[in-house]
């Protein structure tokens, strides 16, 4: 018999669990390509109209707008955003990271929210992952921010080879690596 698999091949966060390129592009949470080339900037990956707006007041530069209807999607104004990262740990959905594409000649940096233990340490080499949790490349941890303001959501900053700039969003949980090695 033939199996209709079309349902499972549908794209989008409601089917795969991870937002599609189209959803991310359409949601208004990204700055323009040109702005992304220019310096550190936030990437907001919030594509569903859920009632939530802490990101809006977290931004001291008024670069994020949700508006009076709190289910509206956060809109990023790339010209106002300086990539400071104050929004990262404030987002209850852990859906914001900051990337600096041309941090150096060869490297991109990413700052992303992280709520697992053990936390990585400055200088560690970690496996950086894409939205599906697949390892894309290795990176080096530059900083781990755990200020009180972040309320137990750490912000990890890592640098990695610029070639993988568009794919990296997070890091692999180190302990599952360790367990795999132990097997």
């Amino acid at each position: 018999m033939t199996i209709d698999r079309t349902q499972n091949e549908r794209e989008g966060v409601a089917y795969t669990g991870t937002p599609s390129e189209q959803e991310l592009h359409d949601s208004g949470g990204y700055a323009t390509q040109e702005r992304q080339e220019r310096g550190p900037v936030a990437f907001i990956e919030c594509v569903e109209c859920i009632p939530c707006n802490p990101c809006e007041s977290a931004c001291p530069y008024h670069a994020i707008t949700v508006g009076p209807d709190i289910t509206a999607l956060p809109q990023l104004d790339g010209e106002k955003c300086i990539g400071c990262g104050l929004c990262i740990a404030v987002c209850p959905g852990l859906a914001i990271y900051v990337k600096s594409k041309h941090h150096s000649e060869t490297h991109t940096t990413i700052s992303f929210p992280y709520e697992y233990v053990p936390l990585p340490s400055k200088g560690d080499t970690v496996n950086l992952t894409d939205r599906n949790g697949d390892v894309v490349c290795q990176g080096r941890v530059l900083n781990v921010f755990t200020s009180r303001r972040n309320d137990r959501t750490a912000v990890v900053q890592a640098e990695f080879d610029k070639r993988y700039c568009s794919e990296v969003v997070s890091m692999k949980l180190p302990r599952s690596d360790e367990r795999e090695r132990g097997r």
């Binding site: 409601a14 669990g17 009632p51 802490p54 209850p92 309320d151």
Partner: protein, 365 residues
């Protein structure tokens, strides 16, 4: 016999909020809970809540629980723990069993039922093996007792409970082998699904659990694909090596005390099943008996807290602590916040279902 202005049954987010609002009016309040600690599910909610600042968005449930308890203490609210309310009788009398040993009677001017909900079960061959449990049980183990239920988990159900508990199991150090969802699309908020996805957890939509296998406890689970009529698709079985199977298949309101009180109940599947109809002050068809939180329709802690406030204000008004104008003004502020939480495509269904309940409630009173 203990006499009190307002008796609140259940010290979760809805009950605590109702008790606090009731006490603010000047009424004497007794809060009863069958557990040995107040807070309901709040102290298991280690994640940051959604909403806006007035909903305490960005604050973790555990911290909201702590804040509510300290407000309750400041207002000198009497709390009975290990106190099971077994029935609601005429003249607003509650039958209570304290410490599984002593029976007591409480007579209240007004009653707020904030009893919450119970998790739905899914039965399949092997479901009685140790290692099969509800998602809520696993969450209690990791977040309250700090015990891992197992090392490799299969989660049944992709609603917010399924994905949030999966995330928290990962945080606690377990691996989540997969999350299966019988429907063709995922149920939980995309930010939650994206979080577990980028930790490497696979989703299987249009799949269900076929059986659990193991001699003395779960050693593996077999999942199977479903066609559009929910039938198993032959030869699509997959065996996953897991030691724990968690079931997150929705919640059913705990409505027994509402029935015991004689409340008119209506069936509203979107909100979990049979629910006492109520008006916009959360008063049921029985005068001075109010409902709030999951018993009034399964939603979230943020909506439960707002409904609790409405019920507390309404109960105080029934007893004369507020006049009608004051009650309406206080309630309107809460309603504005509730409407915000029920807006958007996710909230719309719940909002429409709540409107059905409200219409039934207005007609019944």
């Amino acid at each position: 016999m203990t006499a009190v202005d307002i008796a609140v049954v259940g010290a979760g987010p809805a009950g605590l909020s109702a008790a606090i609002e009731g006490a603010r009016s000047g009424a004497s309040v007794l809060l009863l809970d069958e557990n040995d600690k107040p807070g309901g599910q709040l102290f298991k909610q280690i994640h940051k809540f959604f909403g806006s600042r007035e909903h305490r968005a960005g604050t973790r449930g555990i911290d909201i629980g702590t804040q509510l308890l300290s407000e309750a203490r400041e207002l000198s609210i009497d709390i009975w723990l290990n106190a099971e309310v077994c029935g609601v009788y005429d003249n607003n009398e509650l039958a209570v069993v304290v410490n599984h040993s002593t029976s007591k009677t409480v007579r209240a001017g007004a009653i707020v039922l904030a009893t919450g909900a119970t998790e739905n079960a899914v039965s399949f061959p092997g479901w009685t093996l140790p290692g099969v449990m509800s998602a809520g049980a696993a969450q209690t183990m990791v977040n309250i007792h700090r015990v891992l239920p197992g090392h490799r988990v299969l989660m049944i159900g992709s609603g917010n409970v399924g994905v949030i508990v999966s995330y928290q199991l990962l945080q606690a150090g377990a691996d989540v082998a997969a999350i299966v969802e019988a429907a063709p699309s995922l149920g939980g908020y995309g930010v939650h699904t994206a979080k577990v996805r980028r930790a490497g957890v696979p989703f299987y939509t249009s799949h269900t659990v076929l059986k659990a296998e193991g001699a003395d406890r779960v050693e593996s689970a077999v999942i199977v694909e479903l066609d559009k009529d929910w039938n198993h698709v032959p030869e699509t079985e997959k065996t996953l090596a897991v030691d724990t199977i968690c079931i997150a298949a929705g919640l059913t309101p705990l409505v027994e005390l509402g029935r015991s009180a004689g409340c008119h109940v209506v069936f509203e599947p979107t909100l979990g099943g049979w629910i006492p109809a109520h008006d916009s002050y959360m008063e049921t068809s029985v005068p001075a008996v109010f409902v709030a939180g999951d018993i009034a329709g399964v939603e979230e802690a943020s909506t439960a807290m707002e409904e609790g406030r409405l019920a507390g204000i309404g109960a105080a008004a029934v007893l004369g602590y507020y006049g009608a104008d004051e009650r309406n003004a206080l309630s309107q502020v809460v309603w504005n916040r509730l409407d915000a939480l029920r807006s958007g495509p996710y909230g719309r269904k719940r909002r429409e279902a709540k409107e059905v309940l409200l219409r039934a409630g207005e007609n019944a009173t």
